[in-house]
Symmetry: C2
Subunit: 461 residues, 2 copies
């Protein structure tokens, strides 16, 4: 296959690279100057995809780590590291935001580039690691020293392919493949096309162990990619099984597709209107309920797993109550609205349910059951049973019940969502809910619903 | 407990016994006379509950067996036996009907009594048995020689109790306890009250082996009562597990009841009207469908098991199609109508169902599934799946489908019902069906539905 047309689009050109290198080295010099002036034994290092030259055109996130000797006190590192970052930001008239990974770091916009300044320890071996970010330097060093020049194009093709089929990015919104994992995969399989073939044969528990550490038994994940810089770490740990499955499926689809190049472009969606989405839901049948609540100000990586957990737990509970969930999901505008979606196949049940007691053969248990449940007990298929009024006849009755403060502990709800969910939750039929959304939210949500309705569309062309 | 009041009602008085003995001995003499005249080496024997004096007042079915020596040819026995019966019927101006057990016999009404004349072989040991009716003489002989005079009352109490709680009678309509089984139980437990206590502790597979044959391992039935006249026969084989369970439950209820005597009277039913029945169904919720079809002229013992089999099979199939049957049943007026009842908790499903393929990890199987199911396949919980239109969205669609000639083999339908069911079946909502019934059928069916709705009512007072 000829990928030159794709590479023209996704590979940064000399101009872009030069500019990024120019600003990066300026910033590094400035940091090192400050360190010398302040007599700090610290040093700026460029890391990440920019350092490795594996970033996609226009997606250069510049990562500059301020590395301190291992002897530095952790509090000094945190304080001084952040102080230097703030000084640089001021020096370059940047705009900045403090973030928090294993410790605080600064994200700045300087001369139009987004740049992370991250304090860390300077280590040569993962066993000396004091904070999770420390290993980034090792990763950058490993990839730079092992990747062949021509493999950079293969990495770019892989990242673009993954992005277009919806499995790229280790942030929790996606739960897909991290950039570093892509690089490891190309090191393993040599090039993009060979990778496509190999991934098509992946099994649950596939092991990639570049350095042959033989430590894969430590892990029980769908994909086990031993970190070549740390034999006790699985780079694939954050990859969700569903994203791995989608990737395998996409690779297989790619192999048999007659429109291979289309896999490198984002899915073209048909005109999505409120009417077309509602028609599709109507074609499925059942009823679709929306639970909307306000969300607190938390990072997306906190928000998405909590929404997911809440949806999965409530879905499970609905099924336990004999309501049948055809498909459920979650969505957020990442600003103020969290939304759970339940497409219910069975949303209304009988007023009565059969409450099972012991087997009729066990006398004492039957006598106890009868005492507890009164004289209407009867025999059914070897069991003593009694008809009881159902507490929840409609799925919405149950949801109303669950979001009461005294009942919320029945589901696993994200801890940051709990308060606002209890106070602000509302239940809608989908058709009514759509009318409440402003233009922007409506576009975002309809786009999400389109994927919800057509789960195969991203992984094929 | 003082059961004299009950015994006054259920025990035949001297008049009744004398009259029965009088007519019986007249008939026996007449038969033996014919045999002598025709030079037949056969002999009339009185058997059954009348012979054993264990019949309930007014329920004297007189059984007279015409017994032939073992050397008699089977065809001669059948022909001559029936011939004699017809002659007697004529002699006494009776009305008669030919029936068929293991071979033909005659049921006559003579002087107001119902009398069965059954040809059989005269045997002294079950191992010589040539036809199933032959052992009746052995049963009668065994009970008469083992029962104590005072145990007759206990047997009568037991039969009456079983009748009033709905478990008496081995005919297939009931599937309960045969008279002979009642007698064995009293021989085992001594008297009625002790029996109540012992039955309360019955387990699945309880063994009663009066003659200590030690052959219980031959049988895998809920109740194993080795025939004292035939170690290879379980007298409890025809007892359905549900009737055994109901009996255990009734015995336990009797023990703790404060109205023990009420157990010896038929259940007093509240006024049952169409409206009250429909209200009760409405209180349960869901929808109740009736499938009605014409029935052929077959004995009740043929009809009931076939209706039962059909109902159970269709019920199972409905569940396989994801419809949820809350409770199902069958009824017949034993003349022209067979009826299946399905109280459906889930009677409508989504238009779409998820069709599961292989696990995503199995490449070749996935490729085959994709070839068969087109490009819309997607990953769901490790499986490759595809959405498919449901063939049956409503329970009634499925029932309509099943009763078509080309599909009827999907269910196990009674062989005598098949033709008429295919040709005449109709599906109704219960409320509409009730309007189609004449007064007599309506009364019978409403009474049945009352039991359907209140399954505990017969086993307690």
């Amino acid at each position: 296959m000829d990928y030159r047309g794709i590479l023209d689009i996704i590979k940064p050109d000399t101009d872009e690279i030069n500019q990024i290198e120019k600003i990066s080295s300026k910033l590094i010099k400035s940091i090192n100057k400050i360190c010398r002036e302040e007599n700090l034994n610290a040093e700026a290092v460029q890391v990440g995809s920019v350092a490795k030259k594996t970033f996609l055109k226009g997606k250069s996130d510049i990562d500059i780590f301020i590395s301190f000797p291992l002897s530095t006190d952790m509090n000094v590192l945190k304080e001084k590291g952040l102080e230097i970052a703030y000084k640089i930001n001021e020096e370059y008239n940047g705009e900045c935001d403090e973030h928090y990974a294993s410790h605080p770091y600064l994200t700045c916009i300087i001369e139009g580039y987004e740049i992370d300044f991250v304090p860390c320890y300077k280590i040569d071996d993962a066993k000396d690691m004091k904070s999770a970010v420390d290993r980034t330097i090792l990763h950058t060093r490993y990839i730079k020293s092992h990747i062949k020049e021509e493999q950079i194009d293969e990495i770019l093709l892989l990242k673009r392919f993954m992005d277009c089929v919806g499995v790229y990015g280790s942030e929790f919104k996606v739960g897909g493949f991290a950039g570093y994992l892509c690089e490891i995969l190309i090191l393993k399989y040599g090039n993009f096309e060979n990778l496509i073939d190999e991934v098509s044969n992946w099994r649950y528990g596939t092991v990639i162990d570049l350095e042959e550490y033989g430590t894969s038994d430590l892990f029980n994940d769908p994909l086990i990619a031993i970190d070549p810089t740390d034999k006790n770490r699985n780079v694939g740990a954050a990859l969700r099984s569903d994203k791995m499955e989608e990737f395998i499926n996409a690779c297989r689809n790619f192999r048999i597709s007659e429109n291979k190049l289309d896999f490198f472009y984002p899915l073209k969606k048909e005109n999505i209107s409120r009417e077309s989405i509602l028609k599709d839901f109507n074609d499925i049948g059942g009823k679709t309920y929306i639970v909307e609540f306000e969300i607190p100000e938390v990072p997306a990586d906190t928000l998405y797993p909590q929404l997911r957990k809440t949806e999965e737990s409530l879905s499970e509970k609905l099924e336990e109550e004999d309501f049948k969930v055809f498909k459920s999901g979650y969505w957020t505008n990442e600003k103020d609205k969290g939304v759970l979606i339940f497409n219910m196949e069975v949303y209304k049940l009988n007023n009565i349910k059969i409450h099972y007691g012991p087997k009729i053969w066990v006398r004492q248990a039957c006598e106890n059951f009868k005492k507890a449940n009164g004289p209407d007990c009867y025999c059914l298929n070897e069991f003593l049973v009694v008809n009881k009024e159902r507490e929840f006849k409609n799925a919405t009755d149950y949801i109303e019940y669950i979001f009461k403060r005294e009942n919320i502990s029945h589901i696993k709800i994200g801890k940051n969502l709990k308060e606002t969910a209890i106070k602000t939750f509302k239940i809608y039929l989908l058709e009514n809910y759509l009318k409440t959304l402003n233009k922007e939210d409506s576009n975002g949500f309809l786009d999400y619903l389109d994927d919800f309705l057509h789960p195969s569309q991203h992984t094929r062309r």
